[in-house]
Subunit: 144 residues, 2 copies
DNA sequence: TATTAATCGGACAAAATTGTCCGAAATAAA
DNA sequence: TTTATTTCGGACAATTTTGTCCGATTAATA
């Protein structure tokens, strides 16, 4: 479904959100440890999120990644997916046709539109804050 | 969503179904031409489908691929997807956790279950015959 | 000011996926 | 029986994705 980069990106963003709620800025090393992901590859992904203004980074000692209290609610998963995987999952044809739309649909077009509309709605309405809350109360997990 | 191999596999299977309805057995070359896919790679995928008893192959001159009239209704897309991509799309965690279930869910678990249930139902209820019918009446397409 | 700890970014490496080639086996037909 | 045409299957190649390394840059602090 999502690329590895995207999976790590979402997990990392949720962890950053959780820690930012406590006022803690976190390093790539800590993030990778806590979400059980490869450090350097995760760093690349975080740079992507930073360049897309989804999270904030600070260089130097005491530096790391954080996210504003307000942004936690504004940032929805579709923004992260789009920043990392692009919009092929939102727009591409399920059977790989270059040009597939209502006028010239693949055999699966209509049924795929349904599935994707659901996915799109779900990702577009799920905020980092919401996901971090489940983590905070110990209901959900980011590794294993 | 699906791998390239799987996209080709589904398109090829639908084309084979369409031609089998007319009693025509088709070669890899014709299939690849009609679904606009790489010949040799498509051949590999068709071997997979053959080994999984989803389609039938006949060697030698006048040989090629076909599917029984009855099987067109029995074969659902989930069987093709499972044969080619395995069941990671049906069972794997959306955020890539090795172990993710109701007892130890990732933050997206419940929402993902919904999406996947939809996808699973759709793939499990869509037959090759059904898709071939749309093609036959010129309502849907397999290339471009 | 020097040191240290952090991200940034480019080059590189490994692994997985996608795609190609070709000889072997099968089989229909001349 | 020979030839021609097809799938089968293994080896190989190219591309994309995933993952690593390291020097440059930034900035806090001793």
């Amino acid at each position: 479904m999502f690329s590895k980069a995207c999976e790590y990106g979402i997990r990392a963003a949720v962890y950053i959100t959780l820690q930012s709620l406590e006022g803690r800025r976190v390093s790539v090393n800590e993030i990778a440890e806590e979400i059980d992901s490869p450090i350097a590859f995760t760093a690349k992904t975080l740079q992507l999120l930073t360049r897309n203004d989804i999270i904030k980074s600070v260089k130097g000692p005491t530096g790391g990644f954080e996210i504003d209290r307000e942004e936690m609610n504004n940032v929805k998963l579709n923004m992260i997916v789009k920043a990392i995987d692009g919009d092929k999952i939102f727009k591409g044809c399920g059977l790989g046709l270059k040009e597939c739309n209502a006028n010239k649909p693949c055999p699966l077009h209509d049924k795929f539109v349904d599935i994707r509309t659901n996915l799109s709605k779900m990702l577009g309405s799920t905020s980092l804050y919401e996901l971090a809350m489940g983590l905070e109360v110990g209901l959900t997990f980011l590794k294993r």
